[in-house]
Symmetry: C2
Subunit: 221 residues, 2 copies
Amino acid sequence: MTVDAVVFGYSRMDGVSLLLIKRKYDPFKGSWAIPGGFVLDDESLEDAVERELQEETGLRINYLEQLYTFGKPERDPRSRIVSVAYFGLVKSTQFQKLRATTDAEEAAWFTFKKLPKLAFDHKKILNVSIERLRGKITYQPIGFELLDKKFPFSDLEHLYGSLLGRPIDRRNFKKKVMSMGILDELDEKAKSTGAGRPGSLFQFNKATYDRLLKNGMHFEI
Amino acid sequence: MTVDAVVFGYSRMDGVSLLLIKRKYDPFKGSWAIPGGFVLDDESLEDAVERELQEETGLRINYLEQLYTFGKPERDPRSRIVSVAYFGLVKSTQFQKLRATTDAEEAAWFTFKKLPKLAFDHKKILNVSIERLRGKITYQPIGFELLDKKFPFSDLEHLYGSLLGRPIDRRNFKKKVMSMGILDELDEKAKSTGAGRPGSLFQFNKATYDRLLKNGMHFEI
DNA sequence: GTTAATTGTGTACATATAACGCAAATATAA
DNA sequence: TTATATTTGCGTTATATGTACACAATTAAC
């Protein structure tokens, strides 16, 4: 009985990225793999995920949700091992932390375009996970879990664009998101990132979202 | 490691119903419970579900999908047992079969309004399952899996009405479903069920649905 | 043949989505 | 300092979709 955690991060530079670790032990020693490990007898599945992630990558995840349970008898060469996969999101601040220290370490971020070969059936787990993320982001506001607490609107726009894999009309997108009333526009301006006009910072208003949700509101992008 | 199967059925009389078994052994001997049992070492999770269902109820399910994995350490009084819950749908023909033979047996159908107290954390599993069924039926045509191969349109209408728990405008509903082109209207008429004008029979066209899906069509009711 | 139950159909209105272009603010290079 | 490239920010119109709503036709039972 193991748990695996498919963890996504986001940065303006690279877009959406995946957290992987390099395995220290056989089987698949030296291969890149999704972080995870065995569940202890007295801990819940969620606790196991958070513990393994902490041990292997030092990261604190921001959002965690059960993805799927993989149980084909032959999926692990050692013996019958059933794995409950979770999928998690981290704030882009955390993303940068790991990034600065792990180039030569055992944990690193990978963009979808530069994925290494993965151990076990982790490629399949990843595919299910990407599909879920893509699907979910259109009807639950989980995109915010990938951004900083305060972010320029363009971050949100680029996140959705890269995740959905299709161009987004900025005007219609903004109109829609703002009309839901779950984004607060702050007085601060983003600090310039090179070229162009700096925009306002925005912040997700979870309290408002929860209230709307309770009243039967239907989020959809 | 166990699997559990939350199986739904539908009949014109009772609407949507849930399949339960009466436990023969401790713990919870004599209680009603969701069918399920231990996974054998060399079988997949899906195989385990189908085997257990066959053993305990004799039913063949028509649609099976993994629901959620429940792993709280204290959920089973015997020891740490993780259970992968599936959710399944059976055709209303099958529904009637079981119904005719099991009144005094160990397996039976229950409407949501007349549910007995359930063993283990099965009430929680059921709740997750109902939520999933409700949510899914609006964006995937799984409702057909509960009906006969051929059915009068009113069956579909009643199924959606009772499942979504809100009245459905027959004209708008029919307009929408028919405009998707995934329902074929047959030449046969339904045989009368007591009173009223008999309507045409309809049939789900899975081939068309798959084709539309591949072309990026978006099912939603 | 009268009644009660059910099926079957169309139109007008409101709402939501999609398409589209240009001006303002900033950094950098000339 | 001026020109250029880059990014933000905004509003209108056309189209599509969803919603509300009423009455005639067919059958079984009485």
